[in-house]
């Protein structure tokens, strides 16, 4: 399990794209048990909240599986 921090640039349904603080961009799919609803993702995008994402790579997708998202101080 790895963690990266950044800003949610785009959110569609329960998938979001994170612009990483260390540079680069990555795509995530929120896992079921992260219990995060699409409108919460949409809010992160709208307010450009600084977050940390705990995730695992997924074999058959070019995306990460986001297991938890925590809000970071600005």
């Amino acid at each position: 399990m790895a963690t990266v921090s950044g800003i949610v640039t785009v959110a569609q349904e329960n998938r979001f794209q994170l612009a990483l603080d260390e540079g680069g961009t990555r795509l995530f799919v929120v896992t079921h048990n992260a219990a995060i609803d699409p409108d919460q993702l949409a809010a992160l995008q709208a307010q450009q909240v600084h977050v940390a994402v705990t995730f695992r790579p997924v074999d058959e997708l070019i995306a990460g599986e986001a297991r938890a998202i925590t809000e970071l101080p600005r």
């Binding site: 329960n14 998938r15 997708l61």
Partner: protein, 281 residues
Amino acid sequence: MIPDEAELTAGVKIEPGKSYGFFTDTTRCIGCKACEVACKEWNLLPADGLHLTGMSYDNTVGLSASTWRHVAFIEKISDGDGRATEMAPYQSNWLMMSDVCKHCHNAPCLEACPTGALFRTEFDTVVVQQDICNGCGYCVPACPFGVVELNMIDGKAHKCTLCYDRLKGGLEPACAKACPTDSIQFGEVGELQQRAHQRVSELHELGVDSAYLYGVPNSPGATGDLGHLNAFFLLTAEPEAYNLPAAPSRASNRVGPSLSFGLAAAAGLALAAAALFGWQK
């Protein structure tokens, strides 16, 4: 954002209360897959398959939870003397078709959904509401076209939403806007059906007599009490060639008969058990 951009790109002013859909004229399709890419870029759908399938130029294989547009390739090159040289106008010999959710009028997936996650939008399209869906998966077997699928990561059902969020902003769906040759045409279903019938007669005059519509009222694809398909097609080969069912049907039609068979079977078993139990005494 250009207000009501759909008027510029499709000549359509999108208003709630009207029913919108796709008319896909496969005789104009050049198999470029711009629709697949535009759909994935707008909806942030991850790439889900990096191996060569050998199915001609189709490495996408089919619609899934993370692929809502799929271009099928069917090579039927040889004709008569085994060599295609003078050919029917528009697309021939190498059939290409962009498949999508049909947004059926009587949508079996919607009828199967126990939670109301699948609902009919104000644009008469069928959408899975991600905040309601609990991933029960009833919709998956209900769909006669095998379109909707569960995503194993977020545990919810996914399929083409006819760019529900774009429609709310007056934007034409991403795939229809991108399509270079206007094979995918977005608009009001009634107008599209008229245009499609005219296109078929035009093609017949040009000698493409195998052209027919799939999904307009009483045509193949609109069978089994589905009514009509809001996303319908103009094809030039039998539906099976495109991996489409020739006579799809609405699952709920069979609720009556299957329920009665079920009850009859239960009753029969009960009788048999009683008889067995009685015989023993």
